[in-house]
């Protein structure tokens, strides 16, 4: 296992349903047999108004405003399918800041 799908579980994302989304995603990832991806919670990505937010790392892909109907496409992307470009809507400078923080190992 060497990839992470980090799902924000701070107040705002939670209020937008990120707990259920994380659980749902964990089940779908397991059902798909993606043993190299661990879905786990994250403290905050600083994009609360765009939540629920999740970041696929080290792939460096940010899914914003995730709904349960997006999860199949996300799992496909994790399995090597096309990127879910419609969920890629975060300001590049914030993305870069967060990716660099993740590079230092803040999980």
């Amino acid at each position: 296992m060497n990839r992470f799908c980090l799902v924000c579980q701070n107040v705002d994302c939670k209020s937008r349903g990120s707990e259920e989304i994380m659980k749902d995603l964990q089940e779908r990832v397991a059902a798909k047999g993606l043993t190299d991806v661990e879905v786990r919670s994250y403290m905050c990505f600083g994009a609360c108004q765009e939540g629920p937010n999740m970041v696929l790392y080290p792939d460096r892909f940010w899914y914003a405003g995730v709904k349960s109907e997006d999860l199949d496409d996300i799992v496909e992307h994790m399995a090597g399918g096309p990127a879910v470009d419609r969920l890629d809507k975060i300001d590049p400078s914030l993305k870069e800041l967060i990716y660099q923080l993740l590079d230092t190992g803040v999980f």
Partner: protein, 410 residues
């Protein structure tokens, strides 16, 4: 040493109405009709008084801005939330010299033509609340507040409000929210309270110590006030020393007094007798100073030039045995905990900084990780409604700069 607020520079117990009058208190209020609101504003402007709540904004300017707002009514709010860790000056002022504060509130309210003053006091401060309540009652009986003060035609109602004791509740607009019956959440600024404050009306919100300085300025004149302090930072300031000192407590000193005088003469040096490693001269949001910083004058500009700030005068001294890293972790945790969470950038920044610092504390520090502090701080600067988002920056960045060895990996 002679003081402006405390006659001998240190609190000496509750000063009652008679004792306060005996040192010239309420003399302007007793002849209020003889001085115009504009004259009161002009005196405070001439005094050069800067807000003592941490930001150091010119108080006279604030009074003038509030007075000139055509919209009515106007309000005055005394901010006695005092939630800064280690700060006890506002509590001590309220417990010891409530009439001095009240005299200032009445004069400030007259200056901005406010009809109501709200006294917002940390709800944990029972003795201070009682002292202020008693003073308000005594002043009312003496005709210093209430209807038609000293035949001037000016009336002032005073209302007490209990402040929640979390950190952001002491932010000026969060105080306004609480007084309006809402949760203590800072508002986006602008608009500033001087134009749109309490109930959307022009409001003067000042820290307790700031208001305590108004009566001495108006009663004795700005020239007398300026005989204390420096040209840019006139007057005195009340500093808080913690339990690491031989004599903890609050001390009123003229601005510009060397930090060494406060630490060594007033505080009696460190209780442990150890050598000083670092000083945080203005509370947890100020930058660290090295021991040679003891020779700096305690005033707004000198400390800013030295990469720190005077804040609200809470001085913390670290010994040679203390870890600056541990102190910075405590500070980062404090801000992460106290961030109210309504601004995404602040929530992310304060949580991230605390998490990064804990990695360093766990011996997992490295150059790439330490570099992230500055990036995070710069990225988020000014992106919150209030200034909490900017607060972890100075202590963390100065600690990394002055004590790099503590931030390297194990």
């Amino acid at each position: 040493m002679e003081g402006i607020l405390f006659p001998r520079g240190v609190p000496e117990g509750l000063e009652g109405l008679d004792a306060y009058r005996a040192r010239g208190g309420y003399q302007t209020v007793e002849r209020l009709a003889e001085m115009s609101p504009e004259e009161v504003v002009a005196k405070v402007e001439a005094s050069g008084l800067r807000g003592r709540g941490g930001a150091g904004f010119p108080t006279g300017r604030k009074l003038a801005l509030t007075l000139e707002c055509p919209e009515t009514p106007h309000y005055v709010v005394m901010n006695g939330g005092e939630d800064e860790p280690g700060s006890k000056k506002d509590r001590v002022l309220m417990e010891n010299v409530p009439h001095l504060i009240l005299d200032g509130i009445i004069l400030a309210a007259y200056a901005v033509q406010a009809e109501k003053a709200y006294l917002y006091i940390n709800h944990g401060y029972e003795a201070a609340t009682r002292a202020v309540e008693t003073a308000v009652e005594e002043a009312r009986q003496a005709g210093y507040c209430g209807a038609d003060i000293a035949g001037s035609g000016f009336s002032l109602e005073i209302v007490m409000v209990a402040a929640p004791s979390n950190y952001v509740a002491g932010e000026d607009t969060a105080a306004l929210e609480v007084i309006e019956g809402k949760d203590p959440l800072p508002r986006q600024k602008p608009p500033f309270p001087v134009t749109e404050g309490l109930f959307g009306k022009p409001s003067l919100v000042n820290n307790v110590e700031t208001l305590a300085n108004i009566a001495p300025i108006v009663n004795k004149g700005p020239e007398s006030y300026r005989s204390f302090g420096t040209a840019e930072s006139p007057g005195t300031m009340v500093f808080s020393l913690g339990d690491e000192m031989e004599r903890p407590g609050v001390y009123e000193l003229p601005l510009g007094t060397p930090l060494r005088h406060l630490v060594e003469e007033c505080g009696g040096g460190l209780k442990s007798g150890k050598a000083i490693k670092a000083i945080l001269p203005g509370g947890p949001s100020s930058g660290f100073l090295l021991p040679e910083g003891l020779d700096l004058p305690l005033d707004h500009d000198s400390l800013r030039e030295a990469g720190s700030s005077i804040g609200c005068g809470v001085v913390k001294v670290l010994t040679e045995d203390d870890s600056v890293l541990d102190e910075v972790v405590r500070i980062a945790d404090f801000f992460a905990q106290e961030s109210c969470g309504q601004c995404p950038a602040c929530r992310m920044e304060t949580n991230m900084l605390a998490a990064l610092l804990k990695k360093v504390q766990a011996g997992e520090g490295n150059d790439a990780l330490v570099e992230q502090f500055g990036k995070l701080i710069a990225f988020n600067k000014g992106k919150g409604f209030c200034s909490l988002i900017n607060m972890p920056g100075p202590p963390i960045e100065s600690a990394v700069r002055l004590f790099p060895e503590e931030f390297r990996g194990a």
